[in-house]
């Protein structure tokens, strides 16, 4: 198989879900009971034998660094390759042109110049963190090589309302799957559309040239300056992904995609592929404990939880405590939050380390979940 290295953009769409990314990167947004969003992108790469992965960070990456550690939980603690965190390069003297840290994908790639130019792998797989899917990247790379493509874009054909499409990049292509256009955040597209999953495969040397060109010509937009400008003289292909995917681009979307995991089909697609497990940081929490009188239905429960009350249609992250007489419905409760006795929660997203005292009633609505930031005592 062709050799490939990976590059992950950890911050790229942070501002879409400010409720969750206030103090962390998109990559470290908790998802699915025991994961962070970066786990999906990373596991996809590791499962395709990609053993060198650079993670481009921008700001707020403390939680991400904490989560990733040496990379050992993804088998990426290696003397050759392995996990490399690429923090922004800002120096006191050398920032004449760029007074701020990067804002676009191309800017972010500048950060990875050394990683890309010094790698020896033939191909690079680029991936964002706001997509949840379990994709066989080996197959994508093979497709890329077999088709002699210059860039392969992973897409998913799916029905989009105008509202949904607004937050996505739509790929237009001819009958042969050759990309003819990329539209960022379309204002008025709807129907069956090819959504770009922001997973790209290209030759490392080509990516290197893109970075150098961007530097010397001051390119700003990956979509316009790289894809649109070269669509006729380069071969850009779409690779249609058939499995489940979720884009985390709004808080409601986050809520909905999380709840998707309560469906067995979705879980099978994301977690049930034997040869492609999803890895995450190992915490050595004790197993989840259900007490006498607990009642749990249709819920995803992580280890370390201690449940004495009622939990329905919800997702509890590691180490959540649910007191006696408490009823939690349609909620997402993140790591180490404690819900006291006789509490009622409905459609609440509670971030990490939230303490909800005895007898509280909190409720949101399915389309507008009530969100609690990290750490408060309610």
């Amino acid at each position: 198989m062709a050799t490939a290295a990976g590059l992950i953009f950890s911050n790229i769409h942070d501002r879409n879900v400010p409720e969750l990314t206030g103090k962390r990167s998109m990559a470290s947004v908790p998802f699915g009971g025991r994961y962070r969003l970066v786990d999906f992108a990373l596991s996809n790469m590791v499962n395709a034998n990609i053993t060198k992965v650079g993670i481009i960070t921008h700001y707020n990456y403390q939680s991400l660094v904490d989560h990733l550690g040496t990379g050992k939980d993804w088998d990426l603690a290696r003397s050759t390759g392995g996990l490399k965190i690429l923090p922004p390069q800002i120096t006191t003297f050398d920032n004449a042109g760029t007074k701020t840290v990067f804002s676009s994908r191309l800017d972010a790639l500048m950060n990875a110049y050394n990683f890309v130019s010094k790698s020896t792998e033939e191909y690079i797989v680029l991936s964002d963190c706001d997509i949840v899917c379990n994709i066989d990247l080996k197959d994508v790379i093979k497709f890329h090589v077999d088709n002699g493509a210059d860039i392969t874009l992973v897409t998913k054909n799916v029905y989009m309302t105008k509202e949904n499409a607004k937050n996505c990049t739509i790929v237009e292509s001819d009958d042969n799957g050759r990309v003819t256009n990329l539209v960022d955040n379309p204002a008025s597209m709807e129907g069956m559309l090819d959504v770009c999953l922001n997973i790209f495969v290209l030759r490392r040397e080509y990516l290197n040239r893109i970075i150098i060109d961007t530097l010397s010509r001051g390119y700003k937009s990956f979509t316009k300056d790289i894809i649109a400008a070269n669509k006729d003289n380069m071969k850009f292909m779409k690779y249609e992904y058939a499995g489940y995917f979720a884009t985390i681009n709004t808080l409601d979307g986050y809520f909905k995609s999380s709840m998707d995991l309560l469906s067995a089909e979705v879980r099978d697609c994301v977690f049930g592929v034997k040869s492609r497990p999803v890895y995450t940081k190992v915490k050595n929490s004790a197993p989840a404990k259900y007490m006498e009188g607990a009642s749990v239905k249709n819920s995803l429960i992580a280890d370390g939880c201690v449940i004495e009350g009622v939990v329905e249609n919800s997702i509890l992250f590691r180490g959540v405590h649910v007191g006696k007489g408490t009823v939690i419905k349609n909620c997402i409760i993140m790591q180490d939050s404690t819900v006291g006795k006789d509490v009622n929660l409905n459609c609440v997203i509670a971030d990490k380390n939230v303490v909800i005292k005895d007898g509280r009633n909190l409720s949101g609505h399915e389309t507008h979940p009530f969100s609690l930031a990290k750490g408060p005592v309610i």
Binding site: G32, G33, R34, K72, D73, L262, A264, R267, V270, F271, G272, P277, V278, Y279, T280, V282, N284, S285, A286, P287, A288, K289, Y290, M291, E292, G293, A294, S295, V296, K297, N298, S299, L300, I301, A302, D303, G304, V306, E308, V311, I315
Partner: protein
């Protein structure tokens, strides 16, 4: 040698565990699943790293494949070190022939060179079949303070059970004056927990001497400890009052699992200051279905529960289908309990399948004994396994009920 270690641990993990029957048919006792997320060996290994002992030799002999794979490079316990860490020590062939480990003392004797590499002052001897939480650092402190040549960790047991253990008598300063292996008429209730700290030089001396003694069974309890006592070596008893359980029998293994349940469990494994570590299986969080009933149980990652689970301990990737009932039972990794099947007062080993409508065991109130199904057993739909049966996969296949 560029560094030395103060204390090296030697973990005896070679026992067959024959009293666990079907559960140890394909695996060494220390690799048997315990407490949902763990294997028995996780407890001594976690205790070591939590007590700042980072050099552990694991002596294996019986069915070592699963155990070796499980220990790997020791990474889950932070025992992957540039110097020290965990080392698996199987019996080996030398210039003068090859020997299986003849007894606990002989197993250590054959690995004196391993201990020597770290030039330790003390050697901690552990066994791989106990469930407990213990700070060995405190025991070592005690050992140094008393100036003992050997310290034996002891637990007070009920007098009527004392004849099952190695029983020792000590004076008011905890100095041991008598040791009896499984005495018919015990004089004390202080039972040896099989945890020893030796001064290295003393240990070496007695192990070498014991090896050269004709007719010795090369065992710590039977030979080394009595000989040392007889020679007047200073030996002390270190009193331990926490939870400790020998899980050498089906009954005790079942009980120890049940000791983890409830609001104030006999043994609390949910302790942020003393985490038990285990090799992770990378499975999704557990899913509890629409019609599921789960009470007084512990369950871990990868489980999918659509039936009823009460007073039970489930390991990773266990599936309990609709209408199935699991009660007062221990179910190990990867096992599936199909629709409308019942598992009552039983232990079911890894990767087994309980067919649709099958019944394993009987209500705890009615059954006298725990029922056991071995690794990989596939029970056809509608089968009934009587209470107290202990069946391996082969037995089930052969229709031996």
């Amino acid at each position: 040698m560029f560094k030395k270690k103060e204390c090296v641990a030697m973990l005896l993990a070679g026992g067959q565990g024959s009293r666990l029957y079907a559960l140890t048919e394909f695996t060494a006792k220390p690799a048997v699943s315990f407490g949902s997320k763990y294997r028995i060996i996780d407890f001594p290994l976690s205790n070591c790293i939590n007590s700042n002992i980072d050099t552990v030799g694991v002596l294996t002999q019986y069915q070592p494949l699963q155990l070796n794979e499980y220990i790997g490079n020791g990474q889950p316990w932070d025992l992957d070190r540039t110097f020290g860490g965990v080392t698996v020590l199987p019996p080996y062939q030398g210039k003068n022939g090859a020997d299986w480990y003849k007894g606990t003392a002989n197993a250590i004797y054959q690995n004196l060179k391993y201990i020597e590499r770290y030039d330790p002052e003390y050697v901690l001897i552990l066994s791989g079949d106990h469930i407990y939480k213990m700070d060995y650092a405190k025991m070592l402190q005690f050992h140094k303070k008393t100036g003992a040549a050997c310290t034996i960790s002891v637990l007070n047991v009920p007098i009527e059970e004392a004849s099952r253990f190695g029983i020792l008598s000590s004076d008011e300063n905890n100095k041991i004056f008598k040791f009896e292996e499984k005495p018919p008429k015990p004089q004390s209730t202080k039972a040896s927990m099989g945890i020893y700290i030796f001064n290295k030089d003393v240990l070496f001396k007695y192990l070498i001497e014991d090896e050269n003694t004709e007719g010795s069974s090369n065992d710590f309890g039977k030979n080394i400890i009595p000989t040392m006592l007889q020679r007047g070596e200073p030996m002390y008893a270190y009193e331990f009052d926490g939870y400790w359980k020998d899980v050498g029998t089906i009954k005790s293994l079942w009980e120890a699992n049940m000791d983890l349940l409830g609001k104030n469990p006999e043994f609390d494994i949910d302790d942020d200051n003393w985490r038990f570590r285990s090799r992770n299986v990378a499975a999704a969080p557990q899913f509890i279905g629409e019609n599921a009933v789960v009470e007084n149980s512990i369950i871990t990652e990868g489980c999918v529960i659509n039936g009823t689970v009460i007073n039970s301990v489930l390991s990773a990737n266990v599936t309990v289908e609709e209408g199935a009932v699991v009660k007062d039972s221990v179910i190990m990794q990867g096992t599936t309990v199909k629709k409308n099947a019942s598992v009552l007062y039983s232990i079911i080993d890894e990767e087994a399948i309980v067919g649709e409508g099958a019944v394993v065991g009987n209500d705890k109130e009615k059954a006298k004994e725990v029922t056991v199904l071995g690794m990989g057993a596939v029970l056809p739909a509608g089968t009934k396994i009587d209470e107290g049966k202990i069946l391996s996969a082969e037995d089930v296949k052969g229709g031996n009920k």
